[in-house]
Symmetry: C2
Subunit: 357 residues, 2 copies
DNA sequence: GAACAAAATGTTTGCGTTCACATTATCCCG
DNA sequence: CGGGATAATGTGAACGCAAACATTTTGTTC
């Protein structure tokens, strides 16, 4: 849906908007101050919600604000105060459900805290230099903190000392800081793998996500660990890159292997591809092969068959991430976020293995 | 995929970064000027790429920039010049493929033109007031132009005179301006409906998108028009709201009607729901019922059956939209965008009607 | 109601940059 | 090689606001 037509939204309308002075200059605090009969400083106090202003004065100033149509000039405020209350977000330029959902969460939390967000996207699989470019752009643009929604492992070094100046939050697995705030990737893999094993499958194959993402490795490692715990030697990983296409290719690979009965696919999007490939090869899901994936995207419940998947609370992840950067910016104690838990949603893509296997 | 752990990216690293002065003040043009032995104005000229500076001077200044680690302070520049080179984007807070894809296009075009983008999202089905809030926030934040990725029809009035001050581009159907730039929604509906009719279906049912979106109405109108052209009375519209869930509900409604053989669903996401409901009711797609939808999202090809759909070039739509706002901002002649065309992608969800119908 | 504290308001200054204009260096032509 | 044009650079001032500090008003206490 959603097909745009570029069109200027109704420019002809002259209702009861504040009458601005002849010249096209926007009203400033000086104008408001004059109208309200106070000093600009008082206006500043009122509009920025500072204490110690008489209620009556507040009213008078607000009225003057209305009358003049005044709006705070963020750039000027930023220059004067040294604070921009802006968050930067770096994303990969590919329309993935997870990224957009997290971004929405970031925005929600940011705006609740009075921050605005600027985004910059870099092409997938860019060199670190691209990220640095985006980082610099956002920093120049005044971002006080930066959220990186991209594989960040290989960036840490390149980012170097920049992160001292501007608090930056990514999504690495290692390092202790804030690790309690977000989703445990290993648990995701454990939930998925154990579900399959508990169903009676002898082993579980794995289609991994893009190798540059820390998540991919974490999930692979844990999948492997769970298998070993149960005394089974992990089969080789089938590498993919998060895209449905790569899932499809992985699915073909799997279809070529006769005795596969269970697959842990690292994302729902890839699972669609895997299942398609399996079907084309005459293997039905879940009768012949069970598939469990990760994310619980909006379409997961409407796949055929409906996907059994490990749900990640993306919106909350976004919120928590934003909150964390803001904590860092304002040097306050990290707010304790309740541990965000992944949750196994059992639907129709998993079942006990076929009897003959 | 993508599960974040909030973690400060490597803060310990003291490589060959420029040594900053004792105090933690960021270097300014004054610092650069001192090092380069020129005036701050010259520094300004160099960093903003103005002409009439000797090549040798440029080099000297650039070297000083490197040495000091100077970065342009966008807020200060914005204050002094009255230009922010920032675009604002208002989106609906729901992770739809189309919106994210368009957003990516907006970002790409914006950054090519040297603009940065700030986003603000409002809850779905918000009152106009929410949009105004977002609009004001972005304007205050310095946005010189605004892109609205949301149903804008009912906003035009509320927006009122604001759009004079800040060029705003939405996606209305009506109004002539820029209408040639983007995707013709009626053509989408025509492509879809005629495809079904040409396959031999006697009539085509329609599951519409959210009623607040202009696209929904445009597609409905054209679907109706095409049917009438062919001399068939349009059946009642099955209303939905873009979500897979609403598609599912619509699908159940349809399944309850015996003689339906063809459905034009206003988005791929809804089509997933429709098909699922149909299957549950024992109707197979495309043998019993053909389904054609709109968008060609990444997963469309991996649905079961693969979706026949009308593809919209979202990325290009985003680019064109951004370019249009920038044209407006810079008061230059609208760049001629090649008409963006929707394209029917025939896959497996459509077929001739069953013989007995 | 004097004396003091606290609240409310005002004044000055500077944030980092660009603009408009003034000045100086350089080039070109006769 | 002088002189007029143009290129290259420099010099205030101003952008709109908030920080720091100064001042006035209000409230409170005995």
């Amino acid at each position: 849906m959603l097909g745009l037509r570029a069109v200027q939204v109704s420019a002809h309308y002259t209702g009861q908007m504040p009458v601005r002075s002849q010249q096209d200059r926007l009203p400033t605090q000086v104008d408001v101050a004059r109208v309200a009969g106070v000093s600009t400083q008082t206006v500043s106090r009122v509009v920025s919600g500072q204490p110690n202003v008489r209620p009556e004065t507040i009213q008078r100033v607000m009225a003057a604000v209305e009358a003049t149509g005044y709006r705070l000039h963020a750039a000027a405020a930023s220059l004067a105060s040294g604070r921009s209350r802006t968050l930067g977000v770096i994303t990969i330029s590919s329309a993935q459900y997870s990224t957009s959902a997290i971004l929405l969460g970031v925005e929600a939390a940011a705006s609740e805290e009075g921050y605005s967000v600027s985004t910059a996207s870099v092409p997938q699989h860019s060199a670190p230099a691209s990220f640095l470019g985006a980082f610099d752009r956002l920093e120049r643009q005044g971002a006080e903190g930066i959220v990186i929604l991209a594989p960040v492992g290989f960036l840490a070094e390149a980012l170097g000392t920049r992160t001292e100046r501007t608090p930056t939050v990514g999504h690495r697995q290692s390092d202790g800081i804030g690790a309690d705030a977000l989703v445990d990737q290993r648990e995701i893999a454990r939930l998925a793998t154990e579900h399959l094993l508990d169903l009676g499958h002898r082993t579980v194959w794995h289609v991994s996500g893009d190798e540059f993402w820390q998540e991919s490795n974490a999930r692979r490692d844990e999948w492997e660990a769970v298998l070993r715990e149960r005394g089974v030697t992990p089969p080789p990983v089938i590498p993919a890159d998060w895209s449905p296409e790569s899932g499809y290719r992985a699915g073909r690979t799997i279809a070529a292997i006769p005795d596969v009965t269970a697959v842990f696919v690292a994302s729902d999007e890839m699972a669609f591809g895997v299942i398609r490939a399996l079907h084309e090869a005459g293997r039905t899901v879940p009768d012949d092969v069970s598939v469990v994936s990760v994310d619980d995207i909006a379409l997961a419940a409407y796949a055929a068959p409906a996907l059994t998947t490990v749900r990640q609370p993306f919106h909350e992840v976004g919120r928590a991430t934003a909150t964390r950067v803001i904590d860092l910016i304002e040097k306050r104690e990290p707010s304790v976020t309740p541990q965000l838990r992944a949750e196994l949603i059992v639907r129709a893509s998993t079942a006990p293995p076929p009897p003959l296997a």
